[in-house]
């Protein structure tokens, strides 16, 4: 039993330490969040900035009744799935290679982290330059070395979207590689030795030993990866220069950013932000439930 004086001090210390952070979080997260809900129920816009009023769910109805929402949502899903798929596949593949007995593998590991370390906006702006039709490195390589026709990367909606995806794959795989590498190192070697004695092939070892052991490490990383990619505004915005050509390369976050800060449709943007948030929340909850269930089965 601790003396009573200590208990009083403990309580005082606890709240003294927690309070500043709580007040701050309330001011910069909770309050704006609630304010965002209020804006989403209002008609606030450039022309109704001070004389706004509550209009109910009209903005939400607008979000769901405009066909553009569904096409942008579709693009967002493609964007997220393609990116995270390649991040994980490339990342795990490299991690498996680097987990072998390779002298000098530290150099590769260090160099391959660089895309993650580079500031994202510089990556995006640099790739935008590399996709330039006449002077960009991509077209120069295509035409000079591979003798393929040049591509109008940033003029055509599909190609511009592909350009964004390529950029994002480049900057995202090191994270998965690093996480997978950490997971691989934790797998006991005896498992592989036992499998060797039993005459298992490399492919069998990968699917029966590596994959199940990587799963608990990779699943949280994948959830994070999906959320980050779904919400990644930088790459789309800077590579396509704000949704060019003609707003055809938007994903939900860039579309809502444009609605808020270029078109000043505040109420609409706030409602759409809420919708995006709930999509991710739903995804997060179901994914975590599902994976918990599989963890219990082990």
């Amino acid at each position: 039993m601790k003396p009573n004086k200590k208990d009083v001090e403990a309580v005082r210390f606890k709240y003294l330490f927690l309070l500043p952070a709580l007040i701050l979080i309330f001011a910069v997260v909770v309050y704006p969040f609630i304010y965002n809900i209020i804006i989403s129920l209002s008609n606030m816009s450039m022309s109704h900035f001070h004389d706004w009023r509550i209009v109910g769910f009209r903005q939400y109805v607008k979000v769901f009744s405009e066909p553009i929402f569904y096409s942008v949502l579709g693009k967002t899903v493609v964007w997220t799935v393609v990116n995270v798929f390649f991040h994980v596949v490339i990342g795990v593949f490299l991690a498996v290679l680097l987990n072998r007995h390779l002298p000098g593998k530290g150099i590769f590991r260090t160099l391959l982290i660089i895309p993650w370390a580079m500031p994202q906006y510089i990556t995006a702006l640099t790739w935008r330059g590399m996709f330039n039709y006449e002077y960009g490195a991509i077209n120069l390589i295509l035409s000079k070395f591979l003798h393929l026709p040049m591509v109008e990367w940033l003029k055509n909606p599909t190609d511009a979207f592909i350009a964004c995806i390529l950029t994002n794959i480049w900057l995202g795989f090191p994270f998965m590689m690093v996480i997978a590498y950490g997971g691989l190192q934790a797998i006991p070697r005896e498992l592989y030795e036992a499998a060797d004695i039993d005459g298992a092939s490399g492919w069998q070892k990968f699917w029966k030993i590596t994959v199940p052991h990587l799963k608990p490490v990779m699943i949280p990383a994948i959830v994070l990866g999906v959320i980050w990619t779904f919400n990644n505004l930088n790459v789309i915005w800077l590579v396509s220069n704000g949704g060019e050509p003609s707003d055809k390369t938007h994903i939900l976050v860039s579309y809502v950013y444009k609605a808020a800060f270029n078109l000043y449709r505040y109420g609409y943007a706030a409602a759409l932000s809420m919708v995006i948030f709930f999509i991710l929340l739903l995804f997060g909850i179901t994914f975590i439930r599902k994976t918990r269930a599989t963890e219990g089965a082990y």
Binding site: Y35, I114, M118, L125, K144, I179, R189, L233
Partner: protein
């Protein structure tokens, strides 16, 4: 690890790794190479790594003829302010979340995690409206507050995850030995948490050093620009400022990339610890 690979297989792996790494580093090499181009060859279709007539002219112009130094100063001020406040708040709040019990702890932690699912505009739009009503548009205070809001939840989790790995017996023993709760934290636990503090600092610093989207909304006056806004301005004018953009990018990236690589070992253990412990 396990059996050694045959020489042939080893050679194939090395060749693959060398090619893949070269392809991965290509964009970085490209920026370096453009930054060394002389002014009259900016728009060249050459793919040479060291351009003809390589020169540091772009770097000289960057420091003498543009606002680059000013933007750098602005960025450093903003990033340091976010780092300092982020570390103070995250290290204290994370400690309480890890070692003490109180009402609403679970809800609080879950709420912090949920903020990671907010789209950028979720907090940016209401804060922009609040800030513009308070007249803080075009001020660093507004920018710093928003940056703090975005990095703090993750940093608190990161710190909490690390404190969780330090046995409770340590601070309990210190308290029994006569330390106050604050002394137990400050003298015993905090020094042990140094690696996590470094990661939290790095994370808050990089978050604000490399942020474009929020800054573009809050800062409108060119003399207030932070580095990302300035570099974007160069990049937009590919014909004349392409070399300035490249030189600026090199200067902005090199310190963070080096820092990141040095610290990446701890970063990874921190991330995996945090995620596995949930």
């Amino acid at each position: 690890m396990r059996r050694r690979d045959s020489k042939l297989k080893l050679a194939a792996i090395y060749i693959f790794l060398i090619l893949f790494t070269a392809a991965t580093l290509y964009p970085v090499v490209r920026v370096l190479s453009i930054s060394l181009r002389p002014g009259n060859r900016l728009l060249s279709t050459s793919l040479r790594v060291i351009p003809e007539g390589a020169t540091f002219e772009a770097y000289r112009r960057l420091f003498t003829e543009t606002d680059f130094l000013r933007w750098m100063f602005n960025s450093i001020i903003v990033s340091l302010a976010v780092t300092l406040t982020g570390v103070i708040f995250a290290s204290s709040a994370g400690y309480i979340f890890s070692k003490y019990r109180f009402i609403g702890k679970k809800v609080g932690l879950t709420a912090l995690l949920t903020t990671q699912m907010f789209p950028a505009t979720m907090l940016l739009l209401p804060m922009y409206i609040m800030i513009s009503k308070l007249g803080l548009i075009n001020s660093y205070l507004g920018l710093i507050i928003i940056y703090l809001a975005t990095v703090l939840p993750f940093c608190i989790w990161q710190m909490k995850g690390y404190y969780d790995t330090i046995p409770d017996s340590l601070h309990e023993a210190a308290i029994i030995d006569g330390c106050s709760h604050f002394q137990a934290f400050y003298k015993v636990i905090l020094p042990l948490a140094a690696p996590a503090l470094v990661i939290t600092a790095l994370f808050s610093f990089m978050g604000s050093w490399s942020e474009y989207i929020v800054a573009a909304v809050i800062l409108q006056d060119q003399s207030m620009f932070t580095l990302p806004l300035g570099l974007k301005m160069f990049q937009a004018n590919m014909a004349t400022d392409w070399g300035l953009y490249a030189a600026g990018s090199v200067i902005v990236s090199v310190p963070v990339v080096v820092l990141f690589i040095i610290l990446s070992r701890w970063l990874v253990s921190g991330l995996t610890l945090g995620s596995v412990k949930g």
